[in-house]
Amino acid sequence: MNQTVSLSETLGRGELIGGHRPWPRAVVTPEIWQELAIGLGKRVYTLLGLWGEPENVNLALFQEASGEIGVASLNCPDGGFPSLGHVCPPAQRLERALADLFGLQPLTGPDARPWLDHGRWPIRHPLGAAQTRSGPADPYPFLTAEGESLHQIPVGPVHAGIIEPGHFRFTANGETVVRLEERLGYVHKGIETLLRGATLDSAARLAGRVSGDSSVAYALAFARAVEAACGIAVPERALWLRALLAELERLANHFGDVGAVCNDAAFSLMQAHCAVLRERVLRASATCFGHRLLMDRIAPGGVTTDLPAEGQPLLHKLVVDLRRQFKPLIELYDNTASLQDRTVATGVLNSELARQFGAGGYVGRASGRNFDARRMPGYPPYDRLRFEVPVLSAGDVDARVWIRIHEVGQSLALIEEILDRLPSGPIRADLPPVCGPGEGMALVEGFRGDILVWLRLAADGAVERCHLRDPSWFQWPLLEAVIEGNIVADFPLCNKSFNCSYSGHDL
C-alpha cells in the first residue's frame, strides 16, 4: 500500500454516505477494507472504533500524519466480515463484542471466545437478529501459561475495595506475574439497545450514565454528535460553560486518582488530602450547577444550567485555594522516597504499544503518545484557549501520576481563563421540532481519554443507532501487558494508575 494515500482518498473510492458529519463515512468494498486493514497493521491509521449494525460493520480510523478521521462501513451479507484482529490487536475485543451483540462473525479472527456475553442473557445477539437462548453457557476457557511452579490466582468479579466488578486471572511464578488475563462484561447493561428508539432527552440521560465518573464528557460527546448530525449551532456561552464543566470533572477525577494511587502504595496521607480537594470540587459543582457529578448539565443544543452570578467568584476562589493546597502535596509526592520506590519503574508501558493501541489520556501521554482530542481533532472553545498537553516518556506508574498532576495545573488555569472570558448570552439553542434524519460523530477528551460517540437519527428524531466507545477499550488490554513481570502486590497500583472504566467498557 502506498503510504501517502490519504484516508479520505481511500474512502472516496467507496460509496460516500451523504449526511454523515463532520467526517466522511463510506460504504467500502472488501478490497478497500483489506487495504485499510493493511494500513492499520502498518500503523498508517490508528483504530478509533469498530461497531456493528444488524447488517454491516463500521470502522472508524484516524490518520495521524494528515489528521484525517473517517468511517468505513462494510456490508456483511453472509453474516461475517474479515477480521482485523491479527494485524490490529486493539480490534480484537471490539470484534468479540460485536459478534456477541450482533452475531456478525469476525472471519478467521484470532480469538473466537465470547466477550460481553457470559451466557446469562435471555437472548443471543440482542442488537442483531435476536434469538432466544437455550441451555446454559459453556465454561469460559481462560488462556493458559505453561512452565514450572506456576500457580493461578483468580480475583473478582467482586473485589475487596469499593470498585467495579471484573475478573482477573493471574498466573504467577512465586511473586512474579507471568500472565494476567482480564475477563470483563459483568456490568454490561445493554445501553446500546436501550438507546435504540430513545428520544433525544432520554438518550442524553443514558449517555451521561455510561460511566458515572465521565458523565460530563459522555454527555458532551453525545450532544456534539447530535449537533453534528442536525447541523445545530451551539450558543457561545454554552460552549464555554461546557468546557468549564469538563475541566471541573477532570479536576475532581485527577485529584481522586492521585490520592488513590498513593493509597494503593500504602501512603494514605496523600489520599486523605486529595480526597478533600476532590470533595471541594464536587461541592463547588453542586453549588454552581446543582449536581455534584454534573450529570445532565449538558444536552443537545447547549447546557441545561447556567452559571449563577455568585458562581464566578466562588470558582475563582476555589481555583486559588486548590492551587495553594495542592502544591505541598505535589512536593510530598515528589520527596517521599518510600512512595517513589513503589511508583517509579513499576508497570512500564512502552511507547510502541501505546501507539499501536492508540491509548488515550494519561495512559498514552505517560508513554509518549501526544494525543488529546481537545487539540486534535479539537473542538470549541479549546481552539481559543491556552493550554499545554503534558507528555512524558517513562510510561510507569509514576509518569501516569505526573501527567495527572500536570493536567490538574492545566485545568486550573483553563478554568480561570474560561471564567475571565465567559461570554454572555443564551445557553441553549432552540432545537428544530424534529432533529434528523442524519448521522453524526464526535470525539471528546474525557479525563481518562478520548470518548467516541457515533449515532444515526431517524426521520422522526429518535435515535436509530448509537454507539459509545470508552477510552478503556484500548487501555484495558495494555494493563495486561504492563503487569507482566511485576509482582502481584503491585497490581493494585498499576490498575489504579490506569483507572479504566468497567461500566464504560461493558456498556
Binding site: 435471555p122 467495579e164 447493561k189 439497545t193 450514565r209
Partner: protein, 170 residues
C-alpha cells in the same frame, strides 16, 4: 511530610456535624422490623460494598463517605474487604444478568444477622437501565432488601442519613 503533619494538627478539622437519621429510612426499616425480628448488630456496622452493575457514579459518592468531611468511621461504620466480615451489604446498580450470581453468592457468604441496603435509583428498580435484556432490575429482585437510599447518585449526606438510620434501629 513533617511540616504537613504538623500543620494538620493546628488546623481546624473539616469534619461536619452528623446529619439526623433519615425519617423515610427509619420508617422503611421500622416496617421491615415488624415483619422479621432480627438480632441486633451492635453499635457498629461493617459494610461490604457490592457493585452489581452500577455506572460507577454511586461508587464515587460511597467513596466520599470516607473523606474528612463525612468521616463515617467516627460512627463505627467501616468498609470491609470480605462479605464474611460484613453486617451490611451496600449494593449499587441495576443488577445485571452477568452479576446476578456473584451478588447472590456474596449475600450467601455474609453471615447472619445481615442487612441489605440498595443504593441509588438503579438499586431500587433498575433506574435508567430498566427494561434491558441485560438487567435483572433492582437489588430486591435478587436478594431481600432492608433499606433503599434513592438518588442518582445519592449524595454522601443522603447515604449517611440512611446508614445512621440503620444504626438507630438497633
Amino acid at each position: 511530610m513533617r511540616k504537613l503533619l504538623f500543620q494538620n494538627l493546628l488546623r481546624r478539622t473539616l469534619t461536619q456535624a452528623a446529619p439526623q437519621p433519615s425519617q423515610t429510612a427509619l420508617a422503611e426499616l421500622g416496617e421491615r422490623l415488624k415483619v422479621t425480628t432480627r438480632r441486633r448488630l451492635g453499635r457498629s456496622l461493617s459494610i461490604r460494598e457490592v457493585d452489581a452493575g452500577s455506572c460507577n457514579g454511586c461508587e464515587l459518592e460511597i467513596h466520599a463517605l470516607n473523606n474528612a468531611y463525612y468521616d463515617v468511621e467516627r460512627f463505627g461504620i467501616r468498609f470491609v474487604a470480605s462479605p464474611r466480615h460484613a453486617d451490611v451489604l451496600l449494593v449499587t446498580g441495576p443488577v445485571t444478568a452477568n452479576m446476578r450470581e456473584a451478588l447472590q453468592r456474596t449475600y450467601n457468604a455474609t453471615p447472619d444477622p445481615k442487612w441489605v441496603v440498595a443504593v441509588g435509583d438503579c438499586g431500587r428498580d433498575g433506574g435508567v437501565f430498566c427494561g434491558s435484556y441485560a438487567c435483572v432490575g433492582g437489588v430486591g429482585e435478587v436478594i431481600p432488601v432492608d433499606l433503599h437510599i434513592d438518588g442518582c447518585p445519592p449524595t454522601p449526606e443522603q447515604l449517611l442519613e440512611g446508614l445512621l438510620a440503620l444504626l438507630a434501629m438497633q
